[in-house]
């Protein structure tokens, strides 16, 4: 209830500011679209099916890049957690590459993979890989030694230890890493689509700039926000279900 009220207050203030601006002519009217104008753009683009297409294109890129990165991060995370030599070799490289803002490499991806789908998917995979890998590897290595000892004295082989102790105990950390990675994917898709894309939410927003249609920019941004929080809520729900033993007290 409070959340709904807060949202209404936010929309109301926006309307007041935008319409007030119209009355006072503080800045040119077109620079500050009203909620009504944004809704009109939404209705128009939703009506002709182009909005659905943009959403679908972006979602597909996010999904492909994210799944690719999650699989790679999980596999490499297990290897790193199990092998100290690999860990020692990889650590400096990762520490070196990780702080580079991913967007700095975006042009490189366009050079490598061209303007098509591959460059976007690869870029999302690249961006989301590092935080997911670091989070997963850390949670895989944080296993309680007593649990490993308990399992070993119950007859667990090395393989059993991985599947029945290390992985289950790392699941909370893994799920958190996935959630983080997904959030990041939604974050960077826009940037990737700003540069040389012919469809997608980023392209839709960029079009709003090119054709001077601020309402379209705002609509695109708001829609991404809604999409992000929906996916977030879904992931949290899945997390709760999968981890009911943690909150069971």
């Amino acid at each position: 209830m409070i959340r709904a009220a807060a949202l209404l207050i936010f929309l109301g203030s926006w309307a007041v500011v935008a319409h007030g601006n119209r009355a006072l002519e503080a800045v040119p009217a077109s620079l500050l679209p009203t909620p009504g104008e944004v809704a009109t753009v939404f209705a128009a683009l939703a009506g002709d099916g182009s909005l659905a297409r943009d959403l679908l294109v972006s979602s597909r890129r996010i999904a492909e890049g994210f799944v690719l990165a999650a699989l790679a991060a999980g596999a490499l995370g297990v290897v790193v957690a199990l092998s100290a030599p690999v860990r020692l070799m990889l650590q400096p490289v990762i520490e070196f590459v990780r702080p580079i803002p991913p967007l700095a490499f975006l042009p490189m991806f366009l050079v490598w993979f061209g303007l098509g789908e591959t460059s976007k998917v690869a870029f999302i995979a690249y961006t989301t890989f590092f935080p997911m890998f670091v989070g997963m590897a850390a949670s895989l290595m944080r296993v309680d030694v007593a649990l490993l000892r308990a399992a070993a004295s119950l007859g667990a082989t090395r393989r059993d230890l991985l599947w029945r102790v290390v992985l289950p105990s790392a699941i909370p950390g893994i799920v958190t890493a996935l959630r983080l990675g997904f959030g990041l994917a939604i974050f960077v898709i826009v940037g990737a689509e700003f540069m040389g894309a012919d469809a997608g939410m980023g392209n839709l927003i960029m079009e709003g700039r090119t054709f001077f249609n601020p309402a379209q920019i705002v609509m695109g941004a708001l829609l991404l926000g809604v999409l992000g929080s929906l996916v977030h809520a879904l992931l949290v729900a899945i997390e709760r279900r999968a981890l009911r033993w943690r909150g069971a007290a």
Binding site: A146, L154, A156, R164
Partner: protein, 258 residues
């Protein structure tokens, strides 16, 4: 009753920790022969190496010198014939009570019907049948340790190694758990090595009580507790053992602070 196995020979076991040049000895020249079905309590001041010895017998850490034989075979790592109960329970938090108890039999590939039977038997033995579907963090400390004991026993080991299993429990729960363990031992007749720093607990549970010196730990004296199986904590004989062991142990604790 004669236990089918579980004979332990501890032969000149020594353990040092740290780098080669600065090795700190933790355990010196431990030698003891334990018969199948015997209940041994290891008693000593903290840091005397009693947990170290238990970890060596469990196969978690190798000795620096000497060796441990179980039924004539040298210990090289953890094994299912040696169940372990930890002070901090070490239950798998993502598994229910029943699933925790089933862990060992499942690894051993026992058929489902047999597993169900084992779970029912041991969860029942520790009085947790009503809680079999709960997760560990829904249970009290005493209940968690009961699950840990059931989990170790359901794997049908010949030996159970217990590292201060009741150390984290309040005094009342502790005595209840001691009673239960004594009762279970009469049913199951395992070889048990039980690490504790409570003299009362050692005299109440042990067939023999091994008193260790302060660090680096050695065996100082071994007491055979010749009391009936169901013990009375207030009997004069009980108190007699208690005061005798207290005297021996006091020298060690006193010397540690000298």
């Amino acid at each position: 009753m004669i236990a089918p196995g579980g004979r332990i020979q501890i032969e000149n076991v020594e353990k040092s920790f740290g780098a080669n040049g600065h090795a700190m000895p933790a355990l010196m020249d431990a030698t003891l022969e334990i018969q199948g079905g015997e209940f041994i309590c290891l008693l000593g001041p903290s840091g005397c190496g009693k947990s170290t010895l238990l970890n060596i017998v469990a196969g978690f850490i190798p000795p620096t010198r000497g060796r441990v034989l179980v039924d004539g075979r040298p210990v090289t790592g953890p094994g299912r014939e040696r169940g372990v109960v930890f002070q901090e329970y070490a239950l798998f938090p993502w598994l229910t009570v029943a699933e925790n108890v089933e862990f060992g039999p499942r690894l051993a590939g026992r058929p489902p019907a047999e597993r169900r039977e084992l779970v029912a038997r041991y969860v029942g033995m520790v009085g947790l049948s009503e809680h079999r579907g709960k997760f560990p963090n829904q249970l009290s400390g005493g209940m968690r340790q009961r699950v840990a004991i059931a989990r170790a026993l359901a794997n049908t080991p010949s030996i159970v190694l217990m590292d201060e299993p009741f150390g984290a429990l309040d005094a009342q729960t502790r005595e209840v758990m001691q009673d239960e363990l004594a009762r279970i031992q009469r049913l199951e007749l395992k070889t048990i090595i039980f690490v504790t720093h409570s003299i009362r607990e050692a005299v109440y549970l042990g067939d023999r009580v091994v008193v260790m010196t302060r660090s680096p730990g050695r065996f100082k004296e071994v007491f055979s507790i010749k009391l009936p199986q169901a013990r009375d904590r207030f009997a004069p004989e009980f108190t007699h053992y208690e005061s005798e062991i207290t005297r021996v142990l006091k020298d060690e604790v006193g010397a540690a602070h000298a």
